[in-house]
């Protein structure tokens, strides 16, 4: 998809995709034939540049076609460069500007509570993303309003656009920071599917307060030359690199 588009964000897609697959596979309640079902669970992909991960799963779930996927970033495609609720069935948020997703998810969760609905809201953010001040505004507000059924996943892949997070602006002990904001936190290996599954179940069971899963992940997971490599944050593989990636991921 990214190779066909000649642009995109492979690194942060591969760090997130195990968790997204687990959510769609076993947790989220949705109706592919009725994408706007009011009581569906919401998945807010705040790190919207990792759109290829989302589109891959939406294809697997039947929301979009393979042609849709392969038209990624092309004029008129339902697969916009960054995930966009206006363009793609099954997408609940228009991302692309970092730091906004948790606020949006908080709004969804507050609305669900006003409606006495048990629909869940899942928000995924990147670790570089939480350098945005708005994220912490939302974190403070979610605790203040004791919003349950708001589940945050931090994709702690340690790399952002320009370089490693620790070089650009280290975000430190994210779990401790969220805990100090009043959140219940679990730290996991974001590629260990047993841990991922347990964390999702735990988070879902905590319905009285907001919960966060800090998932320690590897940027570019599964492709040797992309792993932990800042240069594959936002770059498409060439023909040769694609062949290697497909071989290694198969």
């Amino acid at each position: 998809m990214i190779h066909a588009a000649g642009a995109g964000h492979p690194g942060g897609s591969l760090s997130a995709i195990d968790i997204i697959a687990a959510l769609y596979g076993n947790q989220l309640r949705f109706d592919v034939n009725n994408p706007d079902w009011a009581d569906r669970d919401r998945f807010i992909m705040s790190k919207g540049h990792a759109s290829p991960a989302v589109y891959s799963i939406l294809f697997e779930m039947g929301f979009i076609t393979e042609d849709d996927m392969m038209s990624f970033r092309k004029l008129g495609s339902v697969c916009q460069g960054h995930v966009d609720m206006k363009w793609t069935n099954g997408v609940d948020f228009s991302a692309g500007s970092l730091g906004m997703g948790l606020s949006f998810g908080l709004g969804c969760a507050l609305a669900a509570r006003m409606d006495s609905s048990n629909r869940e809201v899942w928000v995924m953010v990147g670790d570089g993303e939480i350098q945005e001040g708005q994220f912490w505004e939302a974190a403070m507000a979610a605790d203040f309003h004791s919003v349950g059924r708001l589940n945050l996943i931090v994709d702690r892949n340690r790399i952002q656009n320009d370089d490693f997070v620790e070089v650009q602006m280290e975000v430190g002990d994210v779990g401790a920071k969220l805990a100090s904001f009043g959140w219940d936190v679990m730290e996991i290996d974001g590629h260990d599917m047993e841990q991922v599954s347990q964390a999702i179940q735990w988070s879902s069971s905590m319905t009285a307060s907001p919960t966060a899963i800090v998932a320690h992940t590897i940027k570019g997971k599964g492709v040797s030359y992309m792993e932990d490599n800042p240069s594959f944050h936002g770059k498409a593989p060439n023909d040769n690199e694609l062949a290697i990636a497909l071989e290694e991921l198969s």
């Binding site: 009011a38 966009d84 609720m85 206006k86 609940d92 948020f93 228009s94 692309g96 500007s97 730091g99 906004m100 606020s103 949006f104 998810g105 908080l106 709004g107 969804c108 969760a109 507050l110 609305a111 669900a112 006003m114 409606d115 001040g133 708005q134 505004e137 939302a138 403070m140 507000a141 203040f144 309003h145």
Partner: protein, 313 residues
């Protein structure tokens, strides 16, 4: 029209409207620690379960509104006009781009806000929100029109920004006449064939006063309350271009990007009559009483009179 009576400020009308809208269970109110000032506090007192305090955190408030709108609510979020601007990109990317219907209200707009000084005097908000595709921009002139236009937002179906003013201004409408107002349709308050004065907000009463002064010298002015800056009532402007020798715009806002710009853009496309803009020139305000500041900035009825006369001479 009869001499105007003094009502409340346009922010009072916003608060009254929220109270009336409370019958609709979809309506929710979001606050950022200025509910007493924007008058959303009236809704809070009656409906605390549908009022959400987000603290002094405007960016979060705007996206919480977007999330609620995506979940079937109709959020009305308010703070000072100037502080909505802190969340401009949130409005652009988080609200308007996906077409989520959040109604944002910025109170205390313009230099009319007064003694708080330039940090509180938003003179660019109308320009900012006017640039966002699909966004409705409203600036009522008194409490009754503010109440009526806010009520109409319930079924508007598009995101909006409404600027209200801190201070009382003379009423331009009564309980009956305000019901004839429609979002997107300018309201003709006075008819005259020499010049058309198109005003918004606190400048509407100044425009009426200017028209009365002009009339003493034999110049008859049409006065329009252009309470909706976007979508602009271009049909009405086209009629004014046909009927009058020129147009003077009046706003408590920068002359860059606001009502005057909107009118000029349209008239320049279609060709027509000369235009003069009364507004804040490219500068910041300062502390002072509203009347003193209007004098300082050159946005009084006298400035409107001068602009009309220079245009006709």
């Amino acid at each position: 029209m009869s001499a105007p009576s003094t009502g409340g400020a346009s922010r009072d009308g916003y608060g009254s409207a929220l109270l009336r809208l409370a019958d609709d269970p979809r309506v929710v109110v979001l606050e950022a620690d200025l509910g007493k000032s924007t008058k959303s506090c009236l809704f809070r007192e009656a409906n605390p379960e549908r009022t959400v305090s987000l603290g002094i955190a405007e960016q979060n408030m705007i996206l919480v509104g977007a999330g609620m709108a995506s979940s079937g609510k109709i959020p009305f979020a308010s703070t000072f006009a100037i502080f909505t601007e802190r969340g401009f990109e949130q409005v652009r990317n988080g609200v308007a781009r996906p077409g989520l219907v959040v109604h944002l209200c910025g109170s205390h707009g313009g230099i009319h806000t007064g003694t708080d000084g330039s940090s509180a005097q938003s003179i660019e908000d109308l320009a900012l929100y006017r640039t966002i595709p699909g966004m409705t921009v409203i600036h009522p002139c008194d409490d009754l029109s503010s109440e009526e236009l806010t009520i109409q937002l319930l079924d508007h179906g598009r995101p909006s920004y409404t600027r209200t003013a801190r201070n009382k201004t003379p009423r331009m409408y009564d309980e009956e006449s305000c019901k004839k107002l429609r979002i997107g349709k300018g309201s003709i308050l006075r008819k005259g064939s020499d010049v058309a004065i198109i005003a918004c907000g606190v400048m509407v009463s100044e425009a009426i006063r200017a028209a009365e002064e002009l009339s003493k010298n034999g110049v008859e002015a049409t006065v329009v309350d252009m309470h909706t800056i976007k979508p602009l009532d271009t049909e009405l402007i086209d009629e004014l271009v046909q009927e009058c020798k020129g147009i003077v715009t009046a706003e408590d806002h920068s002359v860059i990007g606001g009502l005057g710009s909107a009118v000029s853009e349209h008239v320049s496309y279609r060709g027509g009559v000369p235009i003069r803009m009364v507004g804040v020139s490219d500068r910041f305000g300062e502390s002072g009483e509203p009347g003193e500041l209007m004098n300082l900035m050159g946005i009084t009825y006298g400035d409107i009179v001068d602009s009309c006369e220079s245009l006709l001479s």
